[in-house]
Amino acid sequence: MASVAERLQVSPFMTFFIIMSMQIGIGVLGFQRIIAETAGHDAWISVLLAGASSHLILILIYWLLQQADGDFVLLHQRLFGRWVGGVLSLLLVLYFAIIPFVVLNTYIEVVQVWMFPDLKTWEFSLALFLLCLYITFGGFRIVVGICFFFLIIPSYLVFTFWFVLDYSDFYQLLPIFDHSPSAILKAAKQMTLTMLGYETVLFFYPFIKGGKQSAKWAHAAVLTTTLFYTLLTILTLAYFSENQLQRQIWPTLMMWKVVELPFIERFEYIGIANWLLIILPNICLGLWCSSRICKQLFSIRQKMALLVITTICFFCTLWIDDRAEIDFANTILNRAGFYFLYIWIPCLAGITYIVKKVRGNV
C-alpha cells in the first residue's frame, strides 16, 4: 500500500482539475480534421461516444484502485509476479515518458510554423524542461497547483469562439447519422489521444484525501472535457466546409484567426502563447507519473528518476523533429493509449475479478 503523509495530500476536488488539464493538451488544436476524415459531419457523435466509453473505463479504473488499495504497481506485482509485473509497470513508465516529449515537440512545431520559424528547438526545449523540473521537484502539491491555475486562467479562450458563429453554417451538420456506425466508431477510436489523461489517476490516487470521494470529480472532469470537445467539433464542422477542413492541419488555430477584438487583431498569437499554459501540466504530470512508477519499481529517489527521464526526453525532442516523425510519435501514443485503456484495463479488471473469486483477495 502506497500511503502518503496527509500534509502532502490534496483535496478530492482537485481531481477535477488534474484530470481535465491532463486531457486538454495538444490534441485539441487539430483533432477535428482526423475524425472528420472518417466520420464526416457526424464526427461530433464520435466525440460523445468516446466520452461515454471513457466514463466506463473510469469506473473500471476506480474499481481496480479499490481492489489494489490505491497501488497500481503493486497490483501488477501481485497478479503477475515480480518480474512480469515489473515489466508491465516499466511499459507504463515508457508510456508516461513519451507524453512529455510528444506534447512538447508538437507544440514547438506549432510555434515554428505559426510564430517563430527560426526558433531553435533545443533552447526552447531546454528552457521548458528546466521549468518542468522546477515544478516537479516541488512535489505533487505544486504540480496540482499548476494544473489548477493553468486550467482556470486560459479558460477565457472558450469565449473567443463566439466570433466564429458569424461565419458558421450549422446546416452543414445535417443530416445526422448520415454515416455508417462503423465509421463513427472508428472516428471515436481516433479520439483516444485527445481524451487521454484520466489514466493518471491510477498513480496519483494515494495523494488524494479520501480517495473514493474523488470519483465523482473525476467523472465530472471527463464529462466537462467531452462536452467541450463536442461543442468545439460542432463549431468546427459548421465553420469549415468538409473538404476545406481536410486541408487544415490545425483547425482550432485557424478558427482563432477570425477573432477580432477592439484592441487586438490576429488573436491566434495570443492563443498560441496561452497554449503554453495548457500543455505545461501535461508535461509535468507525465514526468511526475513516470518518475513515481520508477521510484516504486526500482526504489530510487524520485528526483534522480526525474532527472534521468527529463534528460532523455530532452534529447528525444532534439532528434525527433521533423513533421513525419512527430506524426508517427503521435500515432504511437494514440495506439498505446488505446491499448492501455480499452484493452488492458478491462483485461486487468477481469483477471482481478477472477483472482479475487479464487483467492479471496488480491
Partner: protein, 355 residues
Amino acid sequence: MSMRTALLIGVTVVLLCGCVRKEILDDINIESAVGFDEAGKEKIRGTIVIPVYKRGETANKTLTTVSSTAKDVLEELQYKTSEPLVSGSIEIALYGKQLAKQGIFPFIDQFRRDASIGTRLYLAVVDGTAKHLLEGNYGRQGNGIYLSNLLKQNIERRDLPKTNLHLFLKTYYADGKDPFLPYIRRVGEDVQVIGVVLFRGDRVVDTIGQSDMFYFKIVADGYSEGTHTVRLNNKKYVSIKNISTKRTISFSGPKTRPHIHVHIALEGIVREYKHGPFTSAVRRSVEKTFEQQIRSQTEALLRRFQEKQIDPIGFGDLAASRYRQFRHRDFYKHYSQLPIRITADVTIRDTGIIE
C-alpha cells in the same frame, strides 16, 4: 546548491542564445494591399501598397513588378525596398478581371499557406487592372484601409453579400457551392462597388450588376439591410428600407431531381414616397408590386445561374443537408433543368415618421 547552479547556468544559456528573428515595427515595410494582374504570356504583374505613415494623413507607396509565378512576384518586390516587406497586415487582395478569368487559385493558395495572413482578408476583382486601382490615393488612412472599409461597409449596410478569404475558401472547396467576390472599379479618385462576380471553380464566368445585387444578397445571405426603390406601374417610385428579411429554401421530390422552393419574406418601412398620402390601398399595391418584382428578378437570376452551371447560392450543399446519402454529382447532372419556384411575401410596416 548544485540544483540551483544548474538552473542558473541553464537560464543564462537560454537567455544568451535565445534570440529569434525580429521584425521591429518601424524597421519593416508593412504591406496593406496587394494586387495581381495578367502581364502577357504566362507572366503575372504584382502590385503592393505600403502605407507611409505621417502625422495626419497617411500616404501610399506602390511597388510593382512582373514575374512568372505568384510567389516569385512578391519575393521579387523585396529587391526594390530597403526594409523587409511583411505581409501580416494585408487588408485586401485584388485581382484584375483578365487574370480572374484565367483562374485565381494559385494566388489564393499562397495566402492559405502563409500563417501570418489573417482569414478576414478581403478579396475583390477589379474591372480594369489592379495596378491602376492601387495606384490611386484614397482616404486618409491609406489605400488598404480605405478599400477594406469600403467593402466592410457595403457588406454590413448595403447589398454586398458576406465575403472574405475564409468564406471564399470555404465555398471554393465545398462540393455544393461556388464562390463569388465583389466587383470594384476605380472612378477618378474613388473606388466604387459595381457588382458581384461569380466563379466556377476559380474562374470568373459571370457578373451581377448593381441592380441585381439586392436580390442576390437576399437569396445568398438570407438577409439584407439595404434600401431599395420599387418602381410602380405609373412611373411612381417608392423607396423602401428593409427591416428584416427571411429566406427559406425547401426541397421536395427525389434527391437527384428535387424541386426547389425559395420563399422570401420581407418586412420594410417606407423611406420616400412623394406622390400623395400613403393610404393602405397604396400600401397594398406597393407590396404586391414589390413581391412581383422580387419574384421575377430572382427567378431571372437563378435561371441565369442554372444556364451557366454555377451555384453561388449553394443549393447543392443545402440539398445535402436535407437528403440522406446525397451525391453532389447526381444533383449537378440535372442542375440546369431543376424546377425552381419563388414566392415572396412583403409587409410594409409603417410609413416612417410622417403620414
